[in-house]
C-alpha cells in the first residue's frame, strides 16, 4: 500500500486494486489467525484463501474472455450464419456464414477423436496393465516425445507424410494437390493421442489393485477385467480427459492451415478438397479488418459447440460414475 502511494495514482486500474486488496486480505487474515489460533490454523486459513483466490484468478479471465466473445459475436450469430458458407462475402446482399466451417470442424474433430480415443485408450491400457520391458519403454518414450510436438510441427508432419503415402493410391500429381480434411485429422491425431494416453494412464493407475484382484479371483480374464472393471471404474476420468483433449484440438489453427487449406464453401467429403474449420475461419476473418464481426461469431459458435460437447460428455460420465461413498 505504501509503495502504491509512492507510485502515484497514475495507472492504477481496478485490477491492480483488486489484486492488492486480495493480497492485503490474505496477509491480514493469516497474521490474525496466526496470532489467535496458531500456526496450523493460520496455514490452513491462508491456503484456503489462496485456493479460493486461485480459483477466482482462473475464472476471471475466462469470464472476461467469454464476455468479450459473446458481446462481440452474438449479434451476427443467427440461423443464417450457421447454415450459410462464406462464399460471396464481398458481394452485396449476400448472406455469409460459418456453416461450412462448422461442418468441417465437426467432421475433422469427429474423425480425429474416432482415431485418437481408441488409440490413446488402448495405448494407455497397454502401458498400465501390460507394459513391461523394452517395448513398453519404447512406447513411453514415443508418447513422451509426442507430448511435446508443437502443433505446427504436427501439421508439417501430416502435410509431408500423407501425400507420400497417397502417391501409391492416386498418383503423384493428385497426391500433390492433396490438402484434405483427413490430412488435418491426421495432424490432430498426433496432437490428441498423447493427451488421451497421458490422461487415461493416470486414471487407470488410480484404480485400486484390489478391484483387479477381485475380478481375477472370479475367473475373469485379464482382458475382460480391464474392459469391464478397470476401464469401467476409470470411465468418468477418461471421459473428462477426452473432453479436454477434444477441446484442446478443436481450437487448433496452425496445423490445419497447412493440412486442410481453407475454403469458402461447404465440403462434406473428408478425402477430397479443402475444408474450413471454425478456428481457420476465425483466423482468416480476423486477418481482414472488414470481416472481424464474422470472426467473433465464429469464435462464439466454437465455444458453444464445445460447451455442448462438454455437457454431453458430462452426462455420459455421470451415468457411469462409481456409485456410493464418493
Amino acid at each position: 500500500m505504501v509503495v502504491l502511494n509512492g507510485w502515484g495514482t497514475e495507472g492504477i486500474t481496478p485490477t491492480a486494486t483488486a489484486v492488492l486488496t486480495i493480497v492485503f486480505y490474505l496477509v491480514l487474515s493469516t497474521i490474525i489467525s496466526f496470532a489467535v489460533e496458531g500456526r496450523r490454523y493460520a496455514t490452513d486459513r491462508m491456503v484456503s484463501g489462496l485456493i479460493v483466490t486461485a480459483f477466482i484468478i482462473a475464472v476471471a479471465p475466462l469470464i472476461s474472455l467469454i464476455w468479450m466473445v459473446i458481446s462481440n459475436g452474438y449479434s451476427e450469430l443467427t440461423w443464417e450464419f450457421l447454415t450459410n458458407d462464406r462464399n460471396g462475402l464481398t458481394l452485396a446482399d449476400h448472406a455469409t456464414g460459418a456453416g461450412h466451417a462448422l461442418v468441417g470442424t465437426l467432421l475433422i474433430t469427429g474423425t480425429t477423436a474416432l482415431i485418437a480415443v481408441p488409440l490413446g485408450v488402448m495405448t494407455a491400457v497397454y502401458l498400465v496393465e501390460y507394459g513391461r520391458g523394452p517395448l513398453a519403454r519404447t512406447v513411453t518414450f514415443l508418447v513422451d516425445i509426442m507430448t511435446g510436438i508443437p502443433s505446427i510441427v504436427a501439421g508439417l508432419f501430416a502435410a509431408a507424410m500423407i501425400p507420400t503415402i497417397a502417391e501409391y493410391f492416386v498418383g503423384s500429381s493428385a497426391a500433390l494437390q492433396m490438402k484434405t480434411g483427413f490430412m488435418g485429422s491426421v495432424a490432430l491425431v498426433v496432437l490428441m493421442t498423447p493427451i488421451v494416453i497421458r490422461n487415461t494412464e493416470e486414471m487407470l493407475r488410480i484404480v485400486p489393485n484390489e478391484l483387479r484382484e477381485a475380478s481375477y479371483a472370479l475367473g475373469v480374464t485379464k482382458s475382460r477385467t480391464i474392459t469391464k472393471v478397470v476401464l469401467r471404474t476409470a470411465l468418468p476420468g477418461i471421459v473428462s480427459g477426452v473432453v479436454i483433449a477434444v477441446a484442446r484440438i478443436i481450437g487448433e489453427t496452425a496445423p490445419l492451415l497447412i493440412t486442410t487449406g481453407t475454403t469458402n464453401v461447404f465440403n462434406w467429403n473428408l478425402f477430397t478438397g479443402y475444408m474450413e474449420t471454425l478456428p481457420t475461419y476465425v483466423y482468416s476473418s480476423w486477418s481482414n479488418q472488414a470481416t472481424r464481426e464474422l470472426a467473433w461469431s465464429g469464435a462464439l459458435t466454437l465455444i458453444l459447440l464445445v460447451l455442448l460437447l462438454n455437457l454431453v460428455a458430462r452426462i455420459i460420465a455421470k451415468a457411469f460414475a462409481p456409485k456410493g461413498e464418493k
Binding site: N264, F266, N288
Partner: protein, 375 residues
C-alpha cells in the same frame, strides 16, 4: 465427383461443386478450342472458355482480400469454386513449382532457378503477371495530428530509432503549422517475413540512401528489439492501440489510421490508386522480362512526379499449358477475370487494397493470358 475409391485417377482436380458434371466438361473442351486472338485487346471471353469445377491457388497473403473479391465474383458469375490459401509467397511459389496448386500469388518475383523449375513443372512457358498493385501506407497514431509529411530521411530515421520523439525538430521542419506532441515514437514492423517489408525497406534505401539505412532489403525486418506484429492486420491493430506508433502496411487495410504523405520531387504526396499505378508505368521492366513475364523494376526514389513511390506489386504465376484442359480453362478464365477492368474494380471496391492496373499494363497482360493453351 471424385469418389473415395482409389480408381479416380481420371479426375486429378478436386471438386467441391455439386453442379460439376463430366459430360459438360467434354463439350466445354471443344468449344474452348477457338483460336487465340493474337494481340487483340480482349482475350477470349471467359464464358466461352467452358470454365467449371474448382481451382486451387495459394501464395501471398497481401492479395488475400483482393482474392476474396475475385473469387466471390468469379464463382457467382461462372460457377467455379476458387480456393486461394494465403500461405505466403514463398510457400505459394513452392507449391506452384511442386504442382500442388494451379496458380500462385507472389510478392517477390521468381528468380532464375525458380523460373527454370517452374518451366519444368509446367512443361511449358509460364506467365508472371503484376495483377495486384498495392500502395503501402505509412500509417501512424498520433493524437491530434491528422496530416503528417515525412521525408524519406525522416522515415529512415524514425524506423531505425534515430528519432525517438514526435516533437523532434527534423519532423517539425516538414510539418509547419502542425502541433506535434511530446510523445515517444513507437515504430512497429512486421514480425513475419513479408513482401511488404522488403518493398518498404527498398523504398527507404532508394529514397533516403544507404547512408541513412545501412541494412539490406530483405523480407525480414533487420532491426531487433522493436515492437512488431504478425501480418498486416497485426501491425495495424498494434498501431491503432498504441499512441505514438507508426507502421507501414497495405494501404487498404489501415482502417481509420491516417497515413503520412511522402516526399516526391520535393513535394509531399498522399497515396492514391492512380498515383500508385503511375509508378508501375514509369518503371523499367526487369532484365529477364518477356512478353509473358511482365516483371517490373520499381523506381522508388521519388523522382517520378505524381507517382506514389511506396508500392508493392504482387504477381500471379501460372503455366501456359496444363495437362488437364479443364484446369487450363479455369486458370485462363480466372486470370482473365482478375485482369479485367471489372475484376480490378471489384477488388478495389471490396477493400482489396489494390490500385487498378493501368490500361497500358492491361494491354500487355491480356496477350500474355491468351498464351495459356486451352484445347
Amino acid at each position: 465427383a471424385c469418389s473415395d475409391t482409389s480408381e479416380g485417377e481420371e479426375t486429378p482436380d478436386v471438386t467441391t461443386d455439386a453442379t460439376d458434371e463430366q459430360t459438360e466438361e467434354e463439350t466445354a473442351d471443344d468449344e474452348a478450342s477457338t483460336e487465340a486472338g493474337g494481340s487483340s485487346e480482349l482475350p477470349t471471353p471467359i464464358a466461352d472458355l467452358g470454365v467449371s469445377g474448382s481451382l486451387n491457388g495459394s501464395g501471398a497473403s497481401s492479395q488475400a482480400n483482393a482474392q476474396q473479391a475475385w473469387r466471390d465474383n468469379f464463382s457467382a458469375d461462372f460457377g467455379v469454386t476458387v480456393n486461394y490459401n494465403p500461405t505466403g509467397s514463398g510457400t505459394g511459389r513452392e507449391q506452384f513449382i511442386g504442382g500442388a496448386v494451379s496458380f500462385a500469388g507472389t510478392d517477390s518475383i521468381l528468380d532464375e532457378e525458380e523460373l527454370a523449375a517452374a518451366a519444368q513443372r509446367c512443361g511449358s512457358d509460364i506467365v508472371e503477371l503484376p495483377l495486384y498493385i498495392s500502395p503501402i501506407a505509412i500509417a501512424y497514431n498520433v493524437p491530434g495530428v491528422d496530416s503528417l509529411n515525412l521525408s524519406a530521411a525522416n522515415v529512415a530515421a524514425i524506423f531505425s530509432g534515430e528519432i525517438t520523439n514526435w516533437n523532434d525538430e527534423a519532423i517539425a521542419a516538414d510539418n509547419e503549422g502542425v502541433e506535434l506532441p511530446d510523445l515517444e515514437i513507437v515504430p512497429v514492423n512486421r514480425a513475419d517475413d513479408s513482401g511488404t517489408t522488403e518493398n518498404f525497406v527498398q523504398y527507404i534505401i532508394e529514397a533516403a540512401g544507404e547512408e541513412a539505412w545501412p541494412y539490406e532489403a530483405a523480407d525480414a525486418w533487420p532491426i531487433s528489439g522493436t515492437q512488431s506484429a504478425e501480418k498486416t492486420s497485426g501491425v495495424v491493430d498494434l498501431t491503432t492501440q498504441t499512441e505514438g506508433a507508426i507502421t507501414y502496411a497495405d494501404a487498404s487495410q489501415i482502417g481509420d489510421l491516417p497515413a503520412a504523405n511522402v516526399e516526391v520531387n520535393g513535394e509531399f504526396l498522399a497515396y492514391s490508386p492512380e498515383a500508385a499505378a503511375a509508378i508501375v508505368d514509369g518503371s523499367e521492366p526487369t532484365a529477364d522480362a518477356t512478353d509473358l513475364i511482365l516483371t517490373v523494376d520499381l523506381k522508388r526514389d521519388g523522382s517520378i512526379a505524381d507517382a506514389y513511390p511506396v508500392v508493392m506489386i504482387s504477381y500471379i504465376v501460372a503455366c501456359t499449358e496444363y495437362e488437364d484442359a479443364q484446369e487450363a480453362a479455369n486458370v485462363k478464365g480466372y486470370l482473365s477475370y482478375m485482369a479485367s477492368d471489372e475484376g480490378q474494380q471489384a477488388a478495389t471496391a471490396a477493400g482489396g487494397g489494390n490500385a487498378p492496373i493501368s490500361d497500358d499494363l492491361q494491354s500487355r497482360v491480356f496477350p500474355a493470358i491468351d498464351a495459356i493453351v486451352t484445347e
